[in-house]
Subunit: 237 residues, 4 copies
């Protein structure tokens, strides 16, 4: 039994679980709402380019995530929807300093690799660069909502639906999606635009997310929604 | 290839991932700190007993989670440590009422199954019943920190370390652990005391958690820590 | 110079301050939005009835706050607007127990006076009793948003404007208003429906609030808005 | 009756109120704890220097707040205590852009005056400049805790007591203090180091704060505490 069968085996587990979920009333559709925001998580060079501990699966990044984001950005911008680019960096990356702004996280993962001083690392990937007026929001924790004004910002914008993209499925994307739901938003995960750096992690995290926290939808569906949201129907979500 | 091989296959995936994580500096040990709290998530009848959509794997519940919790509670109480029992319920379980306190979550999972009026459902399992002075904290979202005063409560108690138990690994336990770390605490997941209701979910969620959000430790280690925390050493964690 | 001149003297100070504020661009109008919620703070018996350390100015309570709330509730209910009744109580009111859910607050004020066990104390005043479907939200801190799911709840309801009433101006009402603004809502303080228990406190807190955190508006204006919100214009706020 | 009698008149009102507060059990002493942080609010050029809408009372700034902060910083640094410098700025200060990161606040006060692009404005005053390792924390709302990772940061640092300084008493300092208490910390307001820009505001806000949210203590007492905290006794607070 080789690791190349992983996806197949996972699919069997998902099918088994889905029977239980369906009987119990899980895996419901939250649907698209009336006013969306596109929120990308950590699509910055430390994650999207080679050479960093945070570097993700480059094949998926270059062939699916970045091209998908380009399409989503185009649709969001053409229709004047809210776009937020989230990234992560630290002022004090000295692990021996008990007063570092890394908090506890450097005791689990190598966050010291992203220094605020090295803007190139935390800058959003130039292929999906922010345009004037789009907020580049700096965070220090996994979730885009933890220790940030994101929820209140989206409330003021009148947003009711968030389309999430980015990395990683295991950490920052999943926690952001869970918080987005908790903060009262309709949560959509753009399937091809969510990546990670280890085998299986995208599959099982998207499975869990779709069962309980957000609708996992193809980029095509999200683009179509962004282009047609005036007439979009929740029931159609 | 049958579902009974799932654990074996997952282990292969985890081994593969761990190589990457180790090279990159993930899977660090956060360690036990100086002042712990025991926080159990949703070990209430709707989850621990048969007959509810939220009912979890009963074999694991009866043979591992409840007995493990009994040992953890005994050690925590014998040493005067903080104990918080978290549960979940709603005042208005009418899915057609747009003003229900269920928020968005009933659009993904059957939270309407836990009415505040039916105290039997949200009461903590009598086998691990709260004693006088222990806080039974009601939440409405997945995370024990989302929309609750838990973080500030633990701050006032002087706690620096949280031992998490409960259900489910996929949802309320994982989001609570992620938030615990974000709120600045050392986070420990008591391995045998974390359950779910579908195959594979405990395995892959504990794997992700240990890689990035908390140390997954045997109940034995946690009990030993609770009994010896005065002299406990972070480096030993 | 006697205390009966307090209001007059405060008005002089306010006039002086308002010159500075106006020159600098403070005291702007936030305006009423498109979808309101009525949120009352601590209009429960411990605050609205005699005999408790929290008892407020009874003359204002009986003659202005309760009658004003009755008019606001009538307008909100007639038009199907969101209504939330916020109250405060504690499970463990033993000040000697370091694990009490009162947190740090009992070290400043007598919160031990409101026990969860004595429902009569924390029940909403029967003259403005909740009706079926209206959420009675329990909090433990001053702000209605601190350690509660209120912001996310209002987000899911599609609310963009909060009309605040209740007690006290100094503490729970002011902090709730500040948080409401921070969470992204248009914030309105219903002038006659906000009380306190000491001289001057209502005046100077409403002055500060109107300068920086919310529009202080007469109950008449709020009732009119609630009855006409479909056609209401922000610019008219 | 002239405005120059304001302080005297306010003192009469405070004396009247204090009788009620004392009878009822308010105005308790929270006391200094075992591990402090010094947190300054908006002591940046837009507030501490002339010429900005946010400019505060310059006489108090130059003669009391800055010299007091210098003494507090010296004591904090000499003893290795946590220091956080909080400031405020916005990426998008266009009030006509509905997606500005100013949220709702520009609809009450002129926050568009502090652009992230003009670092001189939001830089901490050079007389109390941060040194290496001290966190300069950017916020966008009034409270230093709203939409920031401050609470979790202080939790990881092991802090239990916050000494607050800065401006303004009415807005950012008061909301930060209220949140500090809600987040579970012992809260101390350093009396001479808290300012504002309009008459009376410092007096009535410090009065309210001391009654319900923090101990207002002279800078001398705070400096003494910072220098002696190992042996400091809560009861002495």
């Amino acid at each position: 039994m080789a690791i190349e069968n992983l996806d197949e085996m996972l699919q069997q587990a998902f099918d088994e679980s889905s029977k239980i979920y369906q009987e119990r009333g899980f895996q419901r559709r939250i649907g698209f709402g009336k006013k969306p925001a596109l929120v990308s998580i950590d699509l910055a060079n430390a994650w999207t380019r080679p050479g960093n501990p945070f570097t993700c699966d480059m094949e998926k990044m270059d062939n699916e995530i970045i091209p998908g984001m380009q399409r989503l950005l185009e649709a969001a911008r053409a229709n004047g929807h809210v776009v937020v680019h989230v990234t992560t960096a630290y002022q004090n990356t000295d692990r021996n300093d008990p007063h570092t702004d890394m908090g506890q996280w450097h005791n689990k993962i190598p966050v010291e690799a992203v220094s605020l001083e090295d803007e190139e690392l935390w800058a959003i990937d130039s292929r999906i660069a922010p345009i004037k007026g789009e907020w580049v929001m700096m965070k220090k924790r996994a979730s885009a909502f933890s220790g940030t004004p994101l929820a209140g910002y989206l409330q003021t914008c009148g947003v009711d639906t968030i389309i999430f993209t980015g990395v990683t499925a295991t950490a920052c994307v999943r926690t952001s999606i869970c918080d987005g739901l908790q903060e009262g938003f309709r949560t959509i995960a753009a399937r091809e635009c969510i990546g990670d750096r280890v085998p299986g992690a995208v599959a099982w995290n998207l499975y869990d997310i779709d069962a309980k926290f957000a609708d996992v939808e193809p980029v095509d569906t999200c683009v179509n929604y962004l282009n047609n949201v005036e007439g979009w129907n929740n029931e159609a979500g």
